[in-house]
């Protein structure tokens, strides 16, 4: 084997080895990403409009949302997940604000950050009326805080 052949075969060999290792590593990385998430769906029904009282919001613990119902304006749904580090915020009736227990972030009645380290306002989710008359929430559809559903 001459020098030219040695170098070209050698380069090809090293390149083949590197790509094999690269592809294997990519496969391992992909393996670690689940193909199916056994998590609650992002879009779900929460019940009939009549189930929700006027006034202070109803907190749905499993879905981590606040359902607001106003006599004039209608329904609005806010996320209860703090935008800082994912703790569940509480809504205090006394000041109409959202308070995060982890790092003291405070959000105004419209979800805007008033105080603390939270980087973004709380999300508001689209709420629609399903064909069976139930309220449907879609967490993938973020709406402005002024969004309301009149029933």
């Amino acid at each position: 084997m001459n020098r030219r052949a040695f170098l070209s075969w050698g380069t090809a060999g090293v390149a083949a080895l590197c790509s094999a290792v690269g592809v294997s590593m990519a496969a391992v990385a992909r393996f670690m990403v689940p193909s199916v998430y056994y998590e609650p769906p992002q879009s779900f029904k929460i019940g009939n409009p009549a189930d929700f009282p006027y006034g202070p919001p109803t907190f749905l613990a499993d879905e981590k949302i606040f359902v607001f119902r106003d006599r004039e304006k209608g329904f609005a749904v806010a996320s209860a997940v703090c935008t800082h580090l994912g703790c569940t915020v509480a809504h205090f009736g006394s000041d109409q604000k959202f308070h995060c227990p982890c790092h003291g972030s405070v959000f105004g009645p419209d979800g805007a950050v008033l105080h603390g380290p939270a980087p973004r306002p709380l999300s508001w989710f689209e709420v629609t009326l399903a064909r069976d008359g139930q309220l449907n929430i879609d967490k993938d559809k973020i709406v402005p805080s002024s969004y309301r559903l009149m029933v």
Partner: protein, 428 residues
């Protein structure tokens, strides 16, 4: 009787321990002990040189592996069962609380001792040439220790565990570009759920311990190959020839005097290579200051082992590992706190998630790794290293201060509440 003696001889294969040869052979004919040198410097055995912190850390790790394997027999890493198994360990399993307490206090102790060990190595300048890379291995072991503690923290699946891990993994998601993906892979999903519990369990019982064992082997081997522990600071004398030469490198000075090869002995390659070795060697003058590892080093190690085990056992008798109510994703405890060693981090994060949670810790780790390469000062004497000693002290004190603030001075809503004021949590 002869047969018994013969069997014993076939196992130990050494001269009686009453002879110097026997004492040396005990060490280097035994696979478990061969990591020790046959002789050690007397000064290096002094408590005030190393405080035996490396050994204590290692023994705590042994306790953790032993109790951890026992606990694994009663634990299923699946959400509702995991918490039930904790309750079983607490009330049903024989000696369950005691084993779990030992595991917990040894884990906390290991975090503390790894950190103190790092401080000792820093203050004595023991990371300097030729030990630079062993310092880096040590920093990796510190990170693995924190990783083990963090993954173990989730396993009880109580409120404390659930929210500490929610906060902790959300901090990671602030890392630019890859943060969200890394969190998703770590949790096996988007929230802390059953996939996350299983992955943390795998990391905790298989992945991280394997790396710890591998790196510990490297760490110990290098201590041995670098000439044992560094000389105590008080023994440092200005040496005429500080320069160390890599084996095989051209030597400007006179070549080492190599004795003529004897016909009665086989020689390995290492023995006939000239040049000074890169590691610290014992000079003929120092030879008088050495003692045999057996019994002098071994007795001390045995005492440290017994003291460590006894301390952890005593703590486990009187202090119970906490177990709160079942994890409830809907109800965040107020305040929600990460494990204590991450509370300094959480304190930083309460001011800015990106700066405090990602930038600051990354810079801290990089700075720690870079220390032996940035510090060009060859002297190990404290008088010559005032600036760097003060810098490191400020770094340590700042970290401790943040942890103390996060642990004792943060109340509901992360407001400043002194520990002597009682606040009823949950009150509006």
């Amino acid at each position: 009787m002869n047969l018994i003696r013969e069997i014993w001889q076939s196992i130990v294969r050494r001269d009686p321990l009453t002879t110097d040869k026997g004492k040396s052979e005990l060490v280097f004919l035994n696979v478990w002990l061969h990591i020790h040198p046959a002789k050690v410097k007397k000064e290096n055995l002094r408590f005030k040189h190393s405080f035996y912190l490396g050994f204590i850390t290692f023994f705590l790790f042994i306790i953790l592996v032993t109790t951890g394997i026992a606990l694994m027999c009663y634990y299923r890493p699946y959400p509702p069962q995991a918490y039930q198994d904790m309750k079983d360990l607490q009330f049903v399993v024989f000696m369950g609380p005691f084993l779990r307490n030992m595991h917990r206090w040894a884990a906390h102790g290991m975090v503390v001792c790894v950190f103190l060990h790092m401080c000792r190595v820093f203050y004595t300048g023991s990371y300097k040439k030729p030990r630079q890379f062993n310092w880096v291995v040590g920093v990796l072991l510190l990170l693995l220790t924190l990783g083990l503690s963090f993954t173990g923290y989730l396993l009880p699946w109580d409120q404390l565990a659930y929210w500490a891990i929610t906060v902790g993994t959300n901090i990671g998601s602030y890392a630019p570009f890859v943060g969200a993906q890394v969190r998703e892979i770590l949790l096996g999903g988007h929230t802390v759920g059953e996939a996350a519990l299983l992955r943390f369990y795998v990391l905790h019982v298989a992945v991280f311990p394997s790396f710890v064992i591998l790196l510990t082997i490297v760490h110990f081997w290098r201590v041995r190959k670098d000439g044992g522990l560094s000389r105590p600071v008080w023994k440092l004398i200005p040496r005429r020839n500080e320069k160390l030469v890599t084996i095989g490198a051209p030597v400007e000075t006179v070549a080492l005097n190599v004795a003529a090869a004897s016909k009665d002995k086989t020689y390995g390659l290492m023995e006939v290579v000239t040049g000074k070795p890169i590691f610290e060697t014992v000079t003929p003058e120092e030879e008088e200051d050495t003692v045999f590892s057996y019994p002098y080093a071994f007795v001390r190690e045995a005492v440290v082992l017994m003291a460590t085990v006894t301390t952890i056992m005593m703590m486990s008798l009187f202090l119970n590992a906490p177990l709160e109510e079942l994890a409830n994703p809907a109800k965040t405890p107020n305040p929600a706190k990460a494990p204590w060693y991450f509370l300094g981090l959480q304190e930083l994060v309460s001011h800015s998630a990106l700066l405090g949670g990602v930038v600051a810790p990354t810079l801290m780790v990089l700075a720690l790794i870079a220390i032996p390469y940035l510090d060009r000062n060859p002297s190990r004497r404290p008088a010559d290293r005032k600036f760097i000693l003060w810098t490191f002290t400020i770094f340590v004190v700042a970290n401790l201060l943040l942890i103390v603030i996060g642990t004792f001075f943060r109340g509901p809503g992360w407001t400043m509440v002194p520990p002597w004021v009682h606040v009823v949590a949950g009150a509006e």
